[in-house]
Amino acid sequence: MTLIGTSVKRVEDKRFITGKGRYTDDIVLPQMTFAYFVRSPYAHANIKSVDISSASEMDGVVKIYTGKDIAESGINGVPCGWQVDFKNGDTMKEPPHPLLVADKVRHAGDAVAVVIAETYAQAKDAAESVMVDYEVLPAVVNAKAATQEGAPLVHEDAPNNLCFDWELGNPKAEVDAAIEGSHHVTTLDFINQRVIPNAIEPRSAIGHFEGHNDRYTLYTTSQNPHLTRLLMCAFVLGIPEHKVRVVSPDVGGGFGSKIFHYIEEALVTWASKQIGRPIKWTAERSESFVTDAHGRDHVTKAEMGFDKDGKITALRVKTYANLGAYLSTFAPAVPTWLHGTLLQGLYTTPLIHIDLEAVFTHTTAVDAYRGAGRPEATYLLERLLDTAALEMGTDPAELRLKNFIQPFDGVTQEGYQTQVALQYDSGNYHEVLHKALKMVGYEDFRAEQKAARENGKLLGIGFSTYIEACGIAPSAVVGSLGARAGLYESAQVRVQPTGKVSVFTGAHSHGQGHETTFAQVVADKFGIPLEDVEIVHGDSESVAFGMGTYGSRSLAVGGSAIVKSIEKVLEKGAKIAAHKLECSAEDLEYAGGKWTVKGTDKSISFGDISLTAYVPHDYPTGVEPGLDFSSFYDPTNFTYPFGAHIAIVEVDKDTGKVTLKRFIAVDDVGNVINPMIVDGQIHGGVAQGIGQALFEGTIYDESGQLLNASYMDYVMPRADDLPNFEVDRTVTPCPHNPLGVKGAGEAGCIGATPAVVNAVMDALTPYGIHDIEMPVTSQKVWNVINGN
């Protein structure tokens, strides 16, 4: 039986659904203390004084640190991992992000002090007694407003609150001329709103310094434990990396927000040494709302030109990207290299230009959130396409088919070179849309819609045909684009003497099911039972190095690294087998868990060879004992999944409520290892994308207060908001990695959002309405259809 392509049930689910998962907050260490952070209630204020005298006297308080203590300790702030330069070549503004601020707070939730106490409740009680005297200052929350003359400054050394400006694409003058000369130009001014990741498990960190052997352990809720270790050791605390172990146990979701290195991780690690005891910090949900890095938040004007035949002539984009108050780990990369580079979409647009300003505001930091840049690019393109179709009176599906890049496999045909730096690996864009149109029954729907309109009902259909870029690589390229890390992955495949296999991967599941998918790959390649494979991840002590899990990279990059190590095992195994079978390695073939001499029935099993490797009595000369190989895989290109999503909605005229009637998703993520897991990823992503379209979004007031910082007010999509998703796929293998896989984690979230908004606009065609700002709430819809 082949395991690749089979919907094996997830092996990790036994512990998850029986409540036996082991998350950071489940870990209890002897002598452990608890930290609670004193956070600013204001978005922008000078700290005039911090009085800890009464708090220090309270029950159970072990130690209180303030921003002044941190400043005096000489610890650095948390660094940014990606550098983008100004158009003129100047380095981006990179203000420090100290572990605790001493002089000035820059967003509501900024950490001013930390109380460490015997219990969590005592720490919290004492934190409320830390008296901070603030001088409140005016704040700015909107990215475009922040760049205007006279806007309050977030950092004194960043004039106009500009972190950097940036452009990409064809010469601006050419694009301008093409837009001016177009037969039709569709323009959208919109905000891609800020959303909050809302992982079900709040962030948590335990710092544990053991003086007797001078070693630190940090347990943390990270998608990226090795990078956290590197950043914390080398840039923040200046402690030796080999003396620091970072463990990220089971992680309950992240959606990007747990990629980054946060102040709390470094603080509990540092303070544990100072007090000589372990320190646990776990975010309260209210803290998560204001301290987990947020996502999206672009103010954009986008213009797309068309010729008289409906062919796209040019795309011009101006975006203000909100980075929040501090630079989170990958923040500069998201609106630039993960966004501007995707503006080609699936279309042959000959001229593209994006001009971007990345801006500081008095808000929580913004960084990668499921899709990271690609949903923003997709939203922009797909809203333009459907709006253009409405304006020009053409069919939105036809308009897309007319403008699609022709199919190319990336093997016999070259990859597609875009106008915005990327070269797509392989694609067949017509096929996904045709398949989705067939699934939806497009012609029947248009007839149904017409009949519904005659009966006063508002039905609408919306399209989104997207491309995304996963597994960003190779390291040399991302380095030239400003990444301060490589983007390869490591994998060690250790065959035990009895033929059981332990795999150590630098990818780190926070819900994706790596323990199943990776095991399927290994068991399949070795021809051994799935139960004979164990996947080890999330511990810097066991795994050599890793770049973590984000950007749908785990299988494409991490899985490929595993395959490289498998190949090395099989190659060495063949040498041992050849010795045992008295033939040459070239005469052997490996299948079904054994090496067989071609054309004979002489064979030797995987288990016999692994035992021989560790008990090398009868053994080939010049071959080392053992069967254990590591690989570092650095891809040659990104991978480019794509798909077609179609939403059907009904709008209730009386209430403005949008009901999603159907959602069709045809995605091409390359080869599929576990269809059930891929479908699950698509389902989750689609739900999240719908969340942004209809429900989610921060509401800041002018003073920088987040008004909907709880589940009583921040609307998450729920099961009863969603229809049964109709998902299918096409398979266009990735030509440049050994598994032919592209990545599935973000696709749903990238494709879904514009499909839903487009469907609402289609439903509202009788009212001549072409845009409503997300989230498309009942109130907004009711307002526009009533001309309010």
Binding site: D125, K657, F695, I699, Q779
Partner: protein, 283 residues
């Protein structure tokens, strides 16, 4: 999310609960299901020093009936009410409401007494009790008193109760109106409380509306009956035309709440839409 330090007292009888209430005065809170109070405590918006747990008091549980009333014990849970055949038969709107309150866990723990004592204007029960013409039975050291639902809810999180009092039961009249009753709700998408909820109980006699009680949740800081709708219906034929006329100016003269889900205009409009839906269901 941890509350301030709190002492816990288990009351085994109503008398004992009242004794504890008198002992701790303004430094205590009654707890039953804890689904309104505990979140407030965890957010540190409420900080009682003592909790008096009445959830195990037998005499406060269950749903029974007399000739003229349904008697709902203060500690009956939303789920208890939803499962009750008596409720189903005599006041269908109450049953309809139960599957709109929170989720299964909330419904299994949250109690009707706790809900109305908390008096959240967006909660369902206060409005339903107004429409049902319910009586709230309140006990203190001196004895019991009966308060009409109309007089019980006095404002945002504010009721007619004194600190030393306990709700023991809710009486729902077995009336023709309550037998012909409905609850329609447009949930706030995050909390699923009522952005607008409309409870209507209509008695039709000889083709005419003999008695109408129409109340709203989520619209104003205090749940209220809309006398404009009621008066417009009473004595009229109960049909699309009279409903249309009666719901044309809902919440007239009432101060309407605003939040980022619904401004005044939209909320008022929704109230009209849901009043119409509710009444149309009954006509």
């Amino acid at each position: 999310m941890v509350p301030y330090k709190v002492s816990y007292h288990k009351a085994n009888s109503v008398a004992e609960a009242i004794e504890l209430l008198n002992k701790y005065e303004d430094e205590c809170k009654i707890i039953a299901g804890g689904h309104s109070l505990v979140p407030m405590m965890k957010l540190r918006l409420a900080e009682p020093e003592n909790l008096i747990d009445i959830s195990g008091i037998e005499e406060l549980s269950g749903i029974t009936e007399t000739e003229n009333f349904i008697i709902i014990g203060a500690c009956a849970t939303h789920a208890d009410i939803g499962r009750s055949d008596i409720i189903k038969k005599h006041a269908p709107m109450l049953e309809q409401a139960t599957n709109k309150v929170g989720d299964v866990q909330v419904r299994n723990f949250g109690t009707i007494g706790g809900n109305i004592a908390h008096a959240d204007p967006a909660a369902d029960w206060p409005t339903l009790l107004l429409a049902a013409n319910a009586k709230i039975i309140i006990q203190n050291a001196e004895g019991t008193r009966e308060v009409d639902a109309d007089d019980f809810f006095q404002g945002l999180f504010s009721t007619d109760m004194e600190e030393n009092e306990l709700i023991t039961a809710i009486y729902i009249p077995k009336s023709a109106a309550n037998r012909n009753s409905v609850y329609r709700k447009f949930p706030q998408p995050a909390s699923r409380f009522a952005l607008v909820g409309c409870a209507a109980a209509i008695e039709v006699r000889n083709g005419k509306v003999a008695n109408a009680r129409v109340a709203f949740a989520g619209v104003s800081a205090t749940p209220f009956r809309d006398s404009g709708i009621e008066k417009a219906l009473e004595g009229r034929n109960f049909n699309a035309e009279s409903i249309e006329a009666a719901t044309s100016n809902v919440a007239n003269g009432v101060s309407v709440m605003q939040d980022h889900f619904a401004n005044e205009k939209y909320r008022r409009h929704l109230a009209g839409v849901f009043a119409k839906k509710a009444l149309t269901d009954l006509a």
